[in-house]
Symmetry: C2
DNA sequence: ATGTATAATGAACGAGTGTTCCACTTGAAA
DNA sequence: TTTCAAGTGGAACACTCGTTCATTATACAT
């Protein structure tokens, strides 16, 4: 063996994630990254291999953190739907000021990446968004089990509905960030047609 | 006087728009543009000034075309809401294969541009999206006049609701492009809570 | 036919891109 | 204390970026 006391990898990924999240894949240069994670190219490339690879690790870290936040919301509320609602409130309102961007990093990535130029990263982002959707479906099935939602509904349909509302709302909130309007919209999501 | 038989400016803007729409602002290089509009840098810079300026013209052209499409949909249907629904169907399903991207170019731009690095273009895009929203509000007010919608609803609220649904659905359709699901979703938009 | 103002061309500029390479440093094993 | 594989720093590479500008081509007025 030899030396192994390097930088804190988790911390580097966290910082890289925030930069990619803010500026997007194309808007972030390796020199931007080098500066914000305070590492020289040699170290970054030894640890992550390429800009693409670092991005992949970043977006996975993002999805992971978001998943943990969702679980936290479910744990501190009394029902699946209440947890879901708290989660939406957190990402659209409460965590807004500290977040690098108003929008979901996965959605931003899906929006800017193309099949022609960045197929691999795009597919990664799509897979992660699908992961979120099936997590939503699980939660909704829990809600059907407890009777919070009528059990003759289709969980996948509702999960999809949730997904569209959140994507739409977060993007919309970049143009109109009136907090009361956003809050009202969140309330309306849960009395929307698919739930009846 | 002297020479004035130049290239067709409208045609150049159209081609530039499609490229920006597909690849985004950062993903499109001036050399990409030079190739697709078949002009040398000198001509482009004489006519448009800069990459930013050309983008501004492109996104305005896009908003204009979309506005015309919406009007067309209203003209060939029997009610404001039917027109709106046809419009949504067109942009999400019918025009899909010919379009450079599944998503709305304005939304893509709002998603990728930042206040720090591209404030001017971002503000332009936001203004255009707000323009769409007030157009929606006008249409909804028409629908209230004809009794298609209860007139104790708030037109701005409904316009905002439409906006969020369209943004969410178009983005979502990039991950799941099952046509029957998209169609079902469009139907559901118009029986959604805000309409009752 | 000639002169002239304007448009189009494309080489070139400096700065920035992702990435590589190698000399240097480090710290655990011997 | 010596050894040496692994980690780090930073100059440099080949290329691309947005943009400029001197040159050449063009078409109208005379």
């Amino acid at each position: 063996m030899s030396k192994n006391a390097k930088f804190d990898r988790a911390e580097v990924v966290e910082k890289a994630t925030n930069l990619y999240w803010e500026k997007g894949y194309h808007g972030t240069s390796m020199r931007d990254l080098q500066a914000t994670v305070d590492l020289r190219p040699g170290s970054i490339y030894a640890a992550f291999g390429s800009k693409d690879n670092l991005f992949k690790e970043a977006i996975n870290h993002y999805a992971n953190s978001t998943g943990k936040l969702l679980q936290l919301c479910l744990d501190e509320t009394s029902s699946p739907l209440a947890g879901l609602k708290l989660f939406i409130r957190k990402i659209t309102i409460e965590n807004r000021e500290n977040a690098p961007s108003d929008m979901c990093m996965i959605v931003k990535s899906i929006s800017e990446l193309t099949d022609n130029d960045n197929k691999e990263l795009l597919d990664e982002a799509k897979a992660l968004l699908n992961g979120v959707e099936s997590r939503f479906a699980d939660i909704i099935e829990d809600a059907m089990q407890t009777g919070e939602i009528s059990s003759n509904k289709n969980a996948m349909d509702l999960a999809r509905y949730m997904q569209v509302q959140i994507i739409g709302l977060r993007t919309y909130s970049r143009v109109n960030d009136d907090q009361t309007i956003i809050e009202k919209f969140i309330d309306d999501i849960f009395v929307g047609a698919p739930f009846h």
